[in-house]
Symmetry: C2
Subunit: 638 residues, 2 copies
């Protein structure tokens, strides 16, 4: 479904304003083949088209009809934020429409946008739960009510719809709601009725985007007001609601992971638009604290099921990793803003890791079922609780925040791949297709991440002046080669993650980047207690795991990896839609029966010899697509 | 507060009926000195006397007054089971009164028993939440309502009150409620209105005790009915409510830990009274599955904060260990019933471990503050959530189930120390005082667990026939000596945990048991991923831990234990009320700054040398009695 026109695509979901203090500006890519194309194709052909039916079954559209006075019955759904499932689907559909026309999708979007517009109240307010269940009692429960969170997703959808299609119906609805919010919320002394914030950030970053789309400065100011008022006890001072400490003073990410990350995306947005050094410094400090102490190897975020919380530094459990799919998405959104703001490649390093692992595991290979939480281990003998937090894929959730969130990121993914600045074009993520910025266009062909060769060809270029083609050399990469014309360079100098090739380019010039993709064993900082004595198998940007189905004859929790034997790479076109596996040597630990007590004086600890077993590691993103069973990412080495 | 009379004490909280199928019958001990005496003294002088004031402040007594029509106002408290705090306190006070008279305590008990009686409805029903908040709408929400759970604790308190004091006021209340329950609940076809179970087991074991106290067989039958109906989907089939699988078919403990354990105490009770082999076999199977796969080294139970759940086999996290204090208590109650039923020493091995570690950590040294959850680690940089699940001691809880539960177990502890059978007396737990059964009395003097010498002297004995003094040789013990008269035996043969000394004893005969108490390093089954590469320090029955306050100059998560250097024992009368510490050699790992990403190719993993540091390990039960800070039980060895 890629469009083939050579028109520059629509600006993406992050579109810094004209006075933005950014190092880089987004450039758009066309993804026409390869890994991400096939994932996006499933999204376009299966996930997004199934959305309206699922939103109908779950009652979300019914609620809008009720609010519009166009149906009768009871509100359906368990949460006050069910409208956002609709808004996120609309955003996904909008980015999808930007890829090319689809009569059915356009019709679905039109129908649902009309429903949303009809459900809106005359003064701009819109929330079906409060309109239908709470008798219109607004803004009385900012901690749990999610009214501004819903407004935020409505605004994001509207911006996407306008950017992608040029249509204004949904943008008009969003502006009316934003104007209403602006008329109600403000600091003490502003004459506004409420000095408050929403328990779930989202409106902040949405309002910045609305400012960018409309040029109305008061939306940016309102976003700044909301960000500033977090951490001052307006919601009881709870970390869960991002209200324990003002963001400028915070030293680490904390509380509900998705709330923290959406708020920090807005912090990056505000630093981008206002140039405020203190906000930028807070965002940089918190991003580094997060990656250093609270990020799973998959890019997954959130250590606690309880309160969906980040947990303590280096508290990174495997079987109880929460790693909500939405947190991975929020991380990508925040990191992308940081990449634009700073120009630093590490933000895109994390985006790559997150996209290929912690994010992509959230959707099944067929695009029809989902994971809300993304554990790094399922134990032998696991008793699954079912429900939203199941370690088994689910068709839809009671709290269905993740599926349409995946849809919108996949549909808009081409907006996160490249940037430009006055010096040229930067390629952040490698995919087959085209990278375009102004007069520059570069075509890419690659079978990444299965193979490390990325062949680039300059298609369009200004003839008369040099510019720099910057290629991100991934943080995981130990060795690479680049061929530029007739010259080959072996692991040349990389500046902060960027390989910079400055030339006066001509159409047809070719650059071939070869990233060495040997599989590797990765160990964690020793403060990550949960994985002491273990390693993970990685290859390129992919984290691998073992699944029970590939290892009959015993459980996974008895497997020990033999690190003295080489890892072998085996491409398996038959398996899981075609994946490269890593084959390793291991053994099944033989634990003598120690009786009823599993703790033994250390010098009497049982010997751990056992039978050799060939281990087949699959990419983590592809787990839980066959039969139920154990899984593990981190493998004991003794 | 020990009584000095030589009358045999009252029968304890587990009092098998005349036809019970038990291997052992409870004998009672008098604890007059030493470790447990001092803990019980704090319980008697501080914790129990403060109870009525706390129950007043929290509103529990106010609710009873409201239900009795003796006050006006609103129901206070957040849960439908707040009455149980009162009942558990009454049970504690009853066992305390059995130790000796106290005018103030008797007056408090009399006043509160009168309140309970006055709050009871004419037909026997009693639950202040449902009477006051739910308009008397009974038994409509068995999953969450806790009405039968409350009835169970009322019955337990009444049995204790009657056994300890001979008074019948509370027993009459309990019987009326039990009769009411019996008139309402029963199997299909019984003509009873409801075929149902309570979401929180407790009434089952209480009804068995009521049968034992009154001789009324129908209470036993009702208990059997409730046990049998678990696992048949009456409550939606949830493991949380012990409704996923019938207990006779279950293969491991699961769901909410305390609910599971209270139910299994009743299973042991029923097997005891009915002799049913299948129930006994289920209880034995589940106990072994629990200890082998789901028990922390402290005896703590429950791996998940979420739903207070047992978790999967070998899922035994440290920082997120739940290990509710009530679960430790329930484990002791279940294991004691198993010890009586089977005569096997391992049940008392677990009781000892649990009492000295997972249970005792639940109350502060001064008896005034509490832990609801008992983690095995508090991380450097821990952000404490506060509230009931805090890793910091709390004066009282919103859900105050644990404090009065600790009070009742400590007040009745002498009932869990010894048994008798036709062959003689068995000493399960060592404490200074007397062990008494029929014509046999043995005096004990010991400074256990600080020292391993237990000096026993026969005080009373039948003159004309031999009997066996059985001493439990703890499962942790690698070497011991016993002196009996003039003979000394070096680690003589132990039968399934029992050292059996058969003699024709004479008053004044002495036995000295010396348990070697060298400190030891303990490793876990390798399937316990959370502690791979770590050991725990133990000495005797005590598990040790490091606290931040003893280790200035850096965090605890960087400490590595040097296992090549000897452990030293240092008694510190000045510290924490007098404890023996274990001093070990360690170093502070020097982790080079790895940049923003904490995962490194394994062969590049940072070296871990560091400065030497002397480690002072304190008994786990005494942690969190000084300043807030990190703590860890399991220590990395590299």
């Amino acid at each position: 479904m890629p469009r083939t026109s050579s028109l520059p695509p629509s600006p993406g979901p992050v579109h810094p304003g004209p006075d933005a203090h950014v190092a880089l500006r987004p450039a758009v890519a066309e993804v026409t083949d390869g890994f991400w194309h096939s994932r996006r194709d499933v999204n376009a052909r299966t996930s997004i088209p199934q959305g309206p039916g699922l939103l109908e079954s779950a009652g979300n559209l019914h609620n809008l009809r009720l609010a519009a006075g166009a149906a009768e019955g009871e509100f359906q759904g368990a949460y006050p934020f069910v409208d956002t499932d609709v808004y996120k689907w609309l955003e996904a559909a909008a980015w999808q429409l930007a890829q090319g026309p689809s009569a059915r999708l356009e019709s679905d979007v039109h129908r649902i946008v009309s429903l949303v517009a009809a459900a809106q109240q005359p003064d701009g307010y819109l929330n079906t739960w409060f309109q239908l269940v709470k008798g219109g009692e607004r803004y009385q429960d900012l901690r749990w009510g999610h009214e501004l969170y819903c407004a935020g997703h409505l605004i994001q959808a509207a911006v996407a719809h306008h950017r992608a299609t040029g249509r204004t119906e949904l943008l008009d609805v969003a502006r009316r709601f934003a104007d209403h919010v602006d008329s109600v919320f403000g600091p003490p002394g502003s004459g506004k009725a409420i000095d408050g914030i929403d328990g779930h950030p989202e409106i902040e970053t949405a309002l910045v985007e609305l400012y960018r789309e409309t040029g109305e400065r008061r939306y940016l100011d309102l976003a700044g007001y909301f960000v500033d008022r977090h951490g001052h006890g307006l919601l009881g001072g709870e970390a869960y609601c991002q209200d324990r400490v003002p963001v400028r003073e915070a030293t680490n990410v904390e509380g509900h992971a998705v709330r923290q990350l959406y708020l920090l995306a807005a912090v990056a947005d505000l630093a981008t638009e206002t140039g405020e050094a203190e906000l930028r410094s807070a965002a940089e400090r918190l991003w580094r604290a997060m990656t250093t102490t609270k990020t799973h190897i998959t890019g997954g975020l959130g250590a606690h099921h309880d309160w969906e919380d980040f947990g303590d530094p280096y508290e990174l459990p495997n079987e109880r990793a929460y790693c909500e799919t939405c947190a991975a998405i929020a991380s990508v959104q925040w990191s992308w803003r940081m990449a634009l703001l700073t120009g630093e490649a590490r933000y895109s390093d994390l985006i790559e890791r997150t996209l290929f692992n912690g994010f992509l595991a959230g959707v099944s290979l067929d695009g029809e079922s989902w994971l809300y939480v993304n554990p790094l281990q399922v134990r032998d003998g696991h008793t699954d609780p079912g429900g939203d937090q199941s370690a088994r894929r689910t068709r839809w959730f009671r709290c269905a925040c993740c599926p349409p969130n995946v849809m919108r990121l996949l549909a808009g993914l081409e907006h996160y791949l490249a940037t430009s600045d006055d010096d040229g074009l930067q390629i952040h993520q490698y995919a087959s297709g085209r990278y375009i910025s102004g007069p520059v266009a570069v075509r890419a062909e690659t079978d990444y991440p299965w193979h490390g060769t990325i062949a680039l060809a300059v298609e369009d270029t200004p003839a008369d002046r040099p510019w720099t083609l910057s290629l991100r050399i991934p943080q995981w990469c130990r060795h690479f080669r680049v061929r530029c014309g007739d010259e080959t360079y072996d692991s040349p100098v990389v500046e902060d993650g960027w390989l910079r090739l400055e030339r006066t380019w001509a159409p047809g010039d070719r650059v071939v980047l070869e990233l060495a993709l040997e599989p590797r064993l990765t160990a964690a900082d020793p403060r990550v207690d949960a994985v002491r004595g273990c390693v993970a198998i990685e290859r390129g940007p992919l984290v691998f795991c073992l699944e029970q189905v590939d290892h009959p004859g015993g459980g996974l929790d008895d497997i020990v990896l033999d690190t003295t034997r080489p890892l072998a790479v085996k491409h398996r076109p038959d398996l899981l839609g075609g994946v490269t596996t890593v084959v390793a040597a291991g053994r099944r630990r033989a634990v003598p029966d120690a009786g009823w007590w599993p703790y033994t004086t250390a010098d009497r600890a049982p010997r751990q010899d056992g039978d050799p077993v060939e281990l087949t590691a699959i990419p983590y993103y592809a787990w839980a697509n066959r039969q139920d069973g154990a899984m593990r990412v981190w493998l004991p080495t003794s």
